[in-house]
């Protein structure tokens, strides 16, 4: 490095442990988050496979778990939800891609607080290990669902998994909260303080906006979940009565009195609803980025997109009550929550129209990342449209706790967010690993996954309307649900196919990492800063230089420009929109 350039707060590490294990480099930490989430998603997916198989063959003896008893089913369901929501949907889009690309896209050498960044990953890792430990303790994993509703979650003798397993679950969530808060702190400070010269807020790529707003949501929401978790631990272990009223369990009066299970619901959902946006906003950012890049058009309505992200984030804090319409809340409160929920449809629709506007008359390049971005929009619309149904108390009351809700949230916050991650993986893989992923297998993976997820989750809406409850371990013997068994069988076969297709992705990922064709520095002819640097980027991202930004992030097909794209660092003399 040339003299007189202290360009990086920490020098490039040499040893293996400092380089790949306890690394301070945001890129390595981003990959650590990514691979943690990849591990977690396979665990979570395996659990869902066990549940789907059990649903149609209830007496089958399954590998690793044996015969599934009702309580086993509930623990599978709890762990599936918890792993997927926290360790996949929160970890990969924000911790993984955000960590890797936020600093590069704003022209910074690293995150604002690299040590904190490392701590936040390793704390997340510990949280994951603690959660998995719940499988291996007496009584097994907890039964209370990912929402951990009291009093079930607050009583240690309420079921086999409610002993140590539930304590481990709460502890894991509390550790995860602290990790996420550290991450959010880093993202916000980095975005506000480390942007390169010329990178005004309104020149940031929409991915950065999404990560930034997501971090703010996390900052406000995870503290509340932490507080709820602390109260729950106190109720379980110190005999307090925050959540537990006078209850009788198995004929025995418990020592608690006067607490309210509703308190848990309020605190949990005050976190829980913003959490949905924590999962989906980064996906929206990636979709916006890719739709513009692969349509070779500026994003339609950049400012509207930014304000829509803000509005979604803001409104997300006002709607937690729509998860509690069944709790006997005052109809006036329910009306207010319903109205606010419907209002979220407005910024969501703005985003959708802008995505379609971006595609309209674009010179679309249907490469794998673009397919996933379009798939994201499709799933966002399909899953989102059932939102306004569930937002109305009069419809939610019959649909609540049915498979309709399962179909709704899996489409919108589950699979749509996962499509965002797939899009991000195929798009940024060349930058991360210097090689291209296989295009053919990418397409195969896309079409099976898209069709598969629709086959799994669309029919669930019908199941729900026909009255099939969620969380029931066995319903094949219930007369009124007999006619739904063929549809359930279809869903299970679709799930097996879709899960099988994910191995195509994993093989493609690892094969391409070592054997894929070498990539150029800017294979997609994109404009943002990560494509201006070497592949993979050097330790300080820009090789001792700081980029100066002269243009917005989506300058495609600029009239009179020498190429059909103007990079953000191109000279200011190039006229753009």
């Amino acid at each position: 490095m040339a003299t007189g350039e202290v360009v990086h707060v920490h020098a490039a590490p040499q040893g293996f442990i400092r380089k790949y294990i306890f690394s301070l480099d945001h890129k390595v930490i981003g990959l650590q988050y990514y691979f943690l989430a990849l591990t977690a998603v396979f665990v979570g997916m395996f659990l869902s496979l066990l549940m789907r198989v059990h649903m149609i063959w209830p007496t089958a003896v399954l590998p690793l778990v044996g015969e599934i008893k009702p309580e086993t089913y509930l623990s599978l369901l709890t762990m599936h939800g918890t792993i997927m929501v926290f360790f996949v949907l929160t970890t990969a889009p924000q911790g993984g891609f955000g960590n890797y690309f936020l600093p590069i896209q704003i022209g910074a050498p690293d995150m604002a607080f690299p040590v904190l960044n490392m701590l936040s990953f390793w704390t997340t890792f510990v949280a994951f290990v603690v959660l998995l430990a719940a499988f291996f303790v007496t009584g097994g994993a907890p039964l209370h669902g990912w929402t951990g509703y009291a009093p079930l979650s607050a009583l240690t003798n309420a079921g086999p998994g409610q002993q140590l397993g539930a304590d481990l679950w709460i502890t894991s969530i509390a550790i995860f909260c602290i990790a996420s808060l550290m991450g959010a702190l880093n993202f916000i400070t980095t975005t506000l303080d480390l942007r390169a010269k010329g990178m005004t807020m309104m020149r940031m790529p929409l991915t950065c906006w999404a990560w930034f707003i997501t971090a703010i949501l996390g900052l406000l929401a995870f503290g509340v979940l932490l507080s709820a978790g602390i109260l729950l631990l106190l109720d379980r272990n110190l005999g307090t009565s925050f959540y537990v009223p006078l209850v009788v369990v198995n004929g025995q009066i418990m020592g608690h009195k006067g607490g309210s299970p509703l308190l848990w619901q309020h605190l949990f959902w005050f976190f829980g609803h913003p959490e949905v946006y924590i999962a989906i906003l980064p996906g929206m950012g990636v979709a916006s980025q890719l739709l513009s890049t692969f349509s070779r058009k500026p994003i339609f309505g950049y400012k509207a997109m930014v304000y829509a992200i803000m509005a979604i984030g803001f409104l997300g804090f006002m709607v937690w009550g729509h998860h509690m319409f069944m709790s006997g809340m005052s109809p006036y409160s329910a009306f207010a929550f319903s109205l606010m929920t419907m209002a979220i449809g407005v910024p969501s629709a703005i985003k959708t129209f802008n995505w379609l506007g971006t595609l309209h008359k674009g010179r679309i390049r249907f490469q794998t990342p673009m397919l996933y971005a379009i798939g994201f929009v499709s799933l966002f619309v399909s899953g989102g449209l059932s939102g306004p149904f569930l937002a109305q108390p009069v419809l939610d009351i019959p649909l609540h706790d049915t498979a309709f809700v399962v179909g709704h949230f899996h489409l919108i916050m589950g699979v749509a967010a996962i499509f965002g991650m797939f899009a991000g993986t195929y798009y940024w893989f060349p930058k991360m690993f210097g090689r291209m992923m296989n295009e053919t297998w990418g397409r195969v993976h896309f079409f099976i996954t898209l069709a598969g997820t629709y086959c799994i989750f669309m029919p669930m809406h019908y199941l729900g309307m026909a009255g099939q409850p969620r969380r029931y371990s066995q319903f094949t013997e219930l007369a009124y649900l007999q006619h739904l068994i063929p549809l359930n069988t279809f869903i299970t076969y679709a799930a097996i196919l879709t899960i099988g297709a994910q191995f195509i992705f994993v093989i493609n990922l690892f094969w391409s990492m070592f054997k894929g064709p070498k990539s150029s520095d800017n294979p997609w002819e994109a404009t943002t800063l990560e494509w201006t640097t070497a592949t993979p980027p050097p330790h300080d991202n820009f090789g001792g230089r700081t980029p100066v930004v002269n243009h917005g992030p989506y300058e495609y097909s600029v009239p009179g420009a020498p190429r059909d794209f103007v990079m953000q660092t191109d000279p200011a003399s190039v006229r753009t929109h």
Partner: protein, 247 residues
């Protein structure tokens, strides 16, 4: 990992034009906390640390906002007793007010001492360049150990809180006696843990001063710790007021 050696100096305003599809970035000193002169930019780092602290205070505030809303919710909640009648089970906690007032004074006093420590080290930083000028002597200024005083007062406050817990227990208010007493222990403990975090940071700055870290680096830690400490004092006053006036 590849390290690139830049071919253009960092302040060169010229823009590079790559011929092969990618324009290399334009270069500038930037404003990202690295100095142009080979030395870390401490004022930049201080600003960043302060921003980081400000952001940190948000979730801490949210944690206590959340506890407060649980407090208000639980206080107003009627509950069914064994006979199926609605009762209120909220017991008024008889706080050891005198002791808590003494603790409050200790904490307020420590807030003053930490502020003096902060100003002292700011002055030290301002004078530091003069030391390196040959022939300039600014005399040996005697520094009062304000930081040490703050640490002592902080431990005093924690000990006082522990005594307050003992007094509460003597009066028959245990963690699970009533929801109200649960909240008293919860809020004081949550505050104490956060304060103990601040104490650890202050102890760390004491250690770094022994390790002869540059005064500019120490100043950043002291500055941020001081603001955090003021916030802790404010938070305590809020908690005390809540527990005393919303019994």
């Amino acid at each position: 990992m590849a390290t690139l050696t830049p071919t253009i100096s960092i302040n060169d305003p010229k823009l590079g034009h790559g011929g092969s599809g990618v324009h290399p970035p334009a270069f500038d000193g930037g404003d990202d906390g690295r100095g142009d002169n080979g030395f870390p930019d401490y004022s930049q780092r201080l600003r960043r640390a302060r921003l980081g602290l400000l952001v940190t205070l948000v979730p801490i505030t949210m944690l206590f906002v959340s506890f407060t809303s649980a407090y208000v919710f639980r206080q107003g909640l009627p509950t069914l007793d064994e006979h199926g009648t609605y009762v209120r089970d909220w017991l008024q906690v008889n706080l050891p007010v005198t002791l808590l007032l003494v603790n409050t004074l200790l904490l307020l006093f420590s807030s003053i001492t930490v502020e003096l420590a902060r100003r002292q080290i700011t002055r030290q930083v301002a004078l530091a360049p003069l030391h390196s000028i040959p022939g300039v002597s600014i005399g040996q200024e005697r520094y009062f150990p304000w930081l040490g005083a703050t640490i002592l007062l902080g431990f005093g406050f924690l000990a006082g809180q522990w005594m307050a817990w003992r007094q509460l227990a003597d009066r028959g208010f245990y963690v699970a006696t009533s929801a109200s007493s649960s909240f008293v222990y919860l809020l004081t403990a949550a505050h104490a843990i956060h304060l103990a975090g601040g104490l650890l940071v202050l102890l760390y700055t004491g250690t770094t001063s022994l390790l002869h870290r540059p005064v500019e680096a120490r100043r950043i830690v002291v500055d941020v710790a001081a603001w955090y400490w003021h916030f802790m004092a404010l938070l305590w006053i809020y908690i005390f007021a809540l527990l005393q006036f919303m019994r």
